[in-house]
Amino acid sequence: MTTPTWDEPGGPLPSEEFRAATHAIMANIEQVIEGKGATVRLALAVLLAEGHLLIEDVPGVGKTKLAKALARSIDCSVRRIQFTPDLLPSDVTGVSVYNQETRDFEFKPGAVFANLVVGDEINRASPKTQSALLECMEERQVTVDGTTYELQAPFMVIATQNPIEMEGTYPLPEAQRDRFTARIAMGYPDPRAELAMLDGHDAHDPLNDLRSVTDAATVRRLIATARDVHAAEAVQQYAIALVTATREAPELRLGASPRSTLQLIRTAKAVAALEGRDYVLPDDLQALAVPVLAHRIIPTADAQLNRRTTDAIVSEIVHRLPLPHDRGRSPYDTRNGGPATNQYESRGR
């Protein structure tokens, strides 16, 4: 298999072509998932940010359908794993089997050897199997029996899961959750979209009619284009400030990791590119803070008792945190900093 390495994604696309390609993908997906433009766009952004997507919601809102539609829109290798409690790690990564003819062990690639891996109901598998995904998701390689196998590019895991309160689920460990770039919720469709769905989907599944509109090479170039988006120093500072705020928030036991900072910026770049900008705005970060950060953090027991969801905590941080000003502090910013606030802190003896 001659696949280009991850570091050679191909040249960036001109903006018109970029827009045409991304619009085609999104339009294609929206044939299947109606009325969820923002979700679709975010999913695509995660793809362009070279991340992995976790779709979490109650059963039957189209999680799997979104994952499959995205996979089908791109002409690339797609594998689907249905996670069950008895799924074994080797089913995911692959296994070395003894070949009688060659009298040697031969590696049978597992499900992750594809451009797009759809992991359905990932939290129904045992933690052992879930963690088998760990290495391949972050390092984009699989090691079996001491041999390391590179994965293809682009590589994206789209996992769906039911909320952890559902029966028969093993919650994902935070290490694995941290590897997902974004967690999105589908949400119920609005009545009009649901009506349209009834009209269109009752006879046959439109997913079957879906044709790919782009290929892996183009996607690589799309990714390269997104990488090229400019993130100003102020934006980077803002991302750091956001992440730092989660680490310092009194309601949180575990804040967001440095990896999340990186992924926040990357996703923001992708979103900016999808919106036709070549620079990231703090608006992008604000919009992405909940999907990118909320699933990584762990609230304190108190906050949990108070029914504070991580989503609410992150949005509150976004609303509270002043925008970094590349020209110093805003004169109207009295909430944070200022020499007056901590004059008493250093007085204790």
């Binding site: 990488r227 090229d228 400019h230 993130a231 100003a232 102020a234 934006v235 900008r277 070549d278 620079y279 990231v280 705005l281 703090p282 608006d283 604000q286 976004v318 609303h319 509270r320 945190l321 002043p322 925008l323 590349d326 020209r327 805003s330 004169p331 109207y332 910013d333 009295t334 909430r335 944070n336 200022g338 020499p339 007056a340 004059q343 008493y344 007085r347 204790g348 003896r349």
Partner: protein
């Protein structure tokens, strides 16, 4: 119980401090020694009584006993040894009587007189007992301020005009000290005290929270001292000095009440200026009349001239004509008409001297031949309208010199030369009249003594001098108003053996067409001298420059003007009050209106003063206005600065790694700066129009919210979005937006905001821009916070060096 004992000592100290005002009464400090001793002994007695746990009544009794013993020791009658006997109390009673006499016979500051010292020590001792009982026993130190105030009221009662400020400050701090000590003691009873940073507060140190109280105390004392200087209640205030200017004529207190004028020419006092009220309207066929006259004071006491009740015949029986021999000089006949307003209601009728007939009066008016006044016991002058005929007598110096001395048996002489003995006056008159032979020359010499050349000036209040009589004080300080001048000249004339008295009346008033309008400001007093063969001849010694409508005559020219030679006026035997001849007088025919600024003196300082005052007021108002406009001005300047096309600076090229290579050229730098300036301006504009600013909002969201909140329509909405985009790109994009009409957009947004804002917000945005005020406030808060921080650090450093922290904590 150490707190109570200490409080007792503080009460004693505070009493001593509160006694400071007494220092302005006494010449020396003997009283202080005695009071210190007494108060100290009383405090000692109180401490002793408390140590022995006496009940409250016994504590009070012990203090009273100690006071009594101390008084006996300090003021012994000589018959007892420390224990007071009946004779001691007799002695005390004598001292009391003596003090009463001393208060009458001595002026401040008084020498050490036993009686006065006794009363002082007794008073201060009683106050010390009262303060101690109120503070320590009753625990009501605030009430202790009352006895302390009683001490302060002594100099207030003694000094008429102003009381020294310093003793008041000392007393006030004594009182505050008492309050502070009591409260510290009160707080200490709760147990251990802490500072804000959790450290224990030692017994000797006040709580850090007390700083606010200390500041309040100081501010209160300063306000109490400064406020009376500013508030125009008494005519010593700064404001009243600013607003009250110029001349004051007036016959002393009481001229405003009930339309009466007090007929007493006091030798000391103060004129309180009231509003100008028209009293009399007068028409006469005389070109420049002399003073209108209604009353006479001829009873001289040490305080001044008082009037006697006039007695006489009804005017219906006719008035005496001076031309029949009672008076000399040349006479001209005139007729005058007078209309009196409802503001002048008295029993004395204003007429000219030598009135020979009055028409238009009801029955009930009488004429006193001695005083030459028309009076009524039943009727009042209120709203009277009458005409009268009078003859104007005119004299020349040459004529008057013929007047001979009146025989000592003459009733006029007897009545009008009686005077108290005053060595100063006697000496002064002797000096002035030395070598003068005729009556006229004597009185002329005395009259000329009261000139500005001799240092006499007009002032609305006199200055008392301790240990000297009022007339001596006036002759020495040489400041006063018409009453003092008139009374002093009359006294001195009497001293010289010339019958003299003080006449009351009005100067000529303001000329309105052919009518003279006479107001209360024209009230005046002058001297009349009896010259044999001429009758009562008026002399006005008050400096003419300060008397509105002052008139001078030939025989008594204005001594302050360059004198025309007396010989000239002697030869020109022209009638005295005739203006055509009174070349040296203020009444010049070419300048009949004394209000005219060119007229001599009288109105000069007044107009200048008025204009000065109004200038000051206008200036202050302008300053206030300018201060009020400072924020608006600052806002405009900031806006102009931002709108100004910033010259392209040399760009600072930063090498940025990665794909985000930022274009850095002069144009781009300028475009960024422009966008930032425009955005800052937009923020300020939003603040001005009271649209909240959220620091966590991105420019894009802010612009959108601005459009939504302020309901901006097409043009301003587009402009707001443009500004948001420009700032967004300037901040975050590789290339900023160039060529945007940001200034135009700004003014559009401002117009849009003004349209949707209410009037109050609009006016506020222009006149008192909240953005400027908020910046100032924030800057002030920052600066003060920094100051507090620095102060805290300094205190920490100093605390390390303080030996006090090594002391064991005695509070536990």
């Amino acid at each position: 119980m150490s707190g109570r004992r200490r409080l007792g000592l503080v009460a004693a100290g505070a009493t001593i401090l509160a006694a400071a005002p007494i220092s302005s009464i006494f010449d020396s400090y003997t009283w202080l020694m005695q009071c210190l001793l007494t108060v100290g002994l009383i405090a000692g007695a109180a401490v002793g009584a408390r140590t022995l746990r006496f009940p409250a009544w016994a504590q009070a009794l012990s203090m009273i006993v100690v006071l009594l013993l101390t008084l006996t020791w300090l003021f012994p009658s000589g018959e007892e040894f420390l224990i007071p006997t009946p004779s001691t109390f007799g002695h005390f009673a004598d001292l009391f009587t003596q003090a009463g006499q001393d208060t009458r016979s001595y002026g401040v500051p008084v020498p050490d007189r036993d009686g006065l010292l006794f009363v002082t020590v007794l008073g201060i001792g009683s106050v010390a007992i009262a303060v101690d009982l109120l503070t320590v026993v009753a625990r009501k130190p605030a009430l202790a301020g009352l006895p302390m105030l009683a001490i302060y009221s002594v100099p207030v009662a003694v000094y008429v005009d102003s009381v020294p400020v310093l003793p008041f400050i000392i007393g006030a701090f004594g009182f505050l000290w008492l309050l502070v000590s009591d409260n510290i003691d009160r707080v200490r009873r709760f147990g251990r005290r802490f500072t804000g940073d959790g450290r224990d507060v030692d017994v000797w140190e006040p709580s850090p929270l007390a700083a606010a109280g200390r500041r309040l105390g100081v501010v209160g004392v300063v306000a109490a001292v400064l406020l009376p200087l500013l508030v125009p209640t008494i005519s010593g205030g700064l404001l009243s000095r600013l607003t009250q200017t110029g001349s004051g004529v007036g016959v002393g207190p009481g001229n405003g009440t009930g339309g009466r004028i007090n007929l007493f020419a006091s030798l000391s006092g103060q004129l309180s200026r009231t509003d100008e009220v028209d009293l009399v309207r007068l028409k006469t066929d005389e070109a420049t009349p002399y003073y209108l006259r209604f009353g006479v004071a001829d009873q001289l006491t040490a305080n001044g001239f008082g009037s006697t009740t006039p007695t006489g015949e009804n005017i219906a029986q006719g008035l005496p004509d001076p031309r029949t021999g009672t008076a000399g000089g040349t006479f001209t006949e005139h007729r005058a008409q007078i209309e009196i307003t409802d503001k002048l209601a008295q029993g004395m009728l204003p007429v000219y001297q030598n009135t020979v007939g009055v028409d238009g009066l009801q029955n009930g008016w009488f004429f006193d031949d001695n005083q030459q006044v028309v009076y009524s016991n039943r009727r009042s002058t209120r709203e009277l309208n009458y005409t009268f005929d009078y003859v104007r007598a005119r004299y020349t110096p040459a004529l008057l010199r013929q007047a001979e001395q009146l025989s000592p048996d003459d009733p006029i002489f007897k009545r009008n030369t009686a005077h108290p003995d005053d060595p100063t006056v006697t000496a002064e008159v002797k000096r002035l009249t030395a070598g003068k032979t005729t009556q006229y020359d004597k009185i002329r010499a005395l009259y000329e003594f009261f000139s500005t050349k001799n240092g006499f000036t007009y002032r609305l209040s006199t200055q008392p001098i301790a240990n000297s009589s009022e007339i001596a004080a006036f002759l020495q300080t040489k400041v006063g108003y018409c009453q003092q001048y008139a009374a002093a000249l009359a006294w001195m004339a009497r001293e010289a053996g010339i019958p003299a008295r003080v006449a009351f009346g009005f100067t000529r008033g303001e000329k309105d067409g052919d009518t003279y309008v006479i107001s209360n400001r024209n009230a005046h007093a002058w001297t009349e001298v009896y010259l044999k063969g001429f009758g009562w001849v008026p002399f006005d010694a008050t400096p003419a420059a300060n008397v509105a409508g002052a008139a001078r005559s030939d025989y008594a020219p204005d001594v302050d003007l360059p004198e025309p030679s007396t010989t000239a006026s002697e030869t020109a035997a022209v009638p005295g009050a005739d203006p055509s001849a009174a070349a040296g007088g203020v009444d010049r025919p070419d300048r009949p209106d004394f209000r005219d600024p060119s007229t001599a003196g009288s109105s000069g300082p007044e107009t200048a003063g008025m204009s000065g005052t109004s200038l000051t007021i206008i200036g202050l108002a302008a300053l206030l206005l300018a201060l009020l406009l400072v924020p608006a001005l600052r806002r405009v300047l900031v806006r102009r600065h931002r709108h100004a096309v910033t010259a392209p600076k040399q760009p600072k090229v930063r090498s940025l790694e990665g794909p985000g290579d930022i274009v850095v050229t002069a144009e781009v730098v300028k475009a960024r700066a422009d966008a930032h300036a425009a955005w800052d301006e937009l923020m300020d504009t939003m603040v001005d129009f009271r649209i909240p600013i959220d620091p966590s909002e991105t420019p894009r969201v802010t612009a959108r919210r601005l459009v939504d909140d302020a309901m901006l329509l097409e043009e301003p909405a587009t402009a707001a979005t443009l500004l948001g985009t420009a700032e967004e790109r300037a901040r975050y994009a590789r290339k900023p937006l160039e060529g945007g009409e940001l200034t135009v957009a700004l003014s559009r947004v401002r117009k849009g905001l003004a349209r949707s804002a209410n009037r109050r917000t609009r006016i506020g945005a222009v006149l008192m821009p909240p953005s400027v005020l908020m910046r100032w406030r924030l800057g002030l808060a920052d600066a003060s916070a920094r100051l507090v921080g620095v102060g805290g650090r300094v205190r920490e450093v100093l605390a390390k060096a303080s030996p006090r922290r090594l002391l064991p904590h005695r509070s536990r």
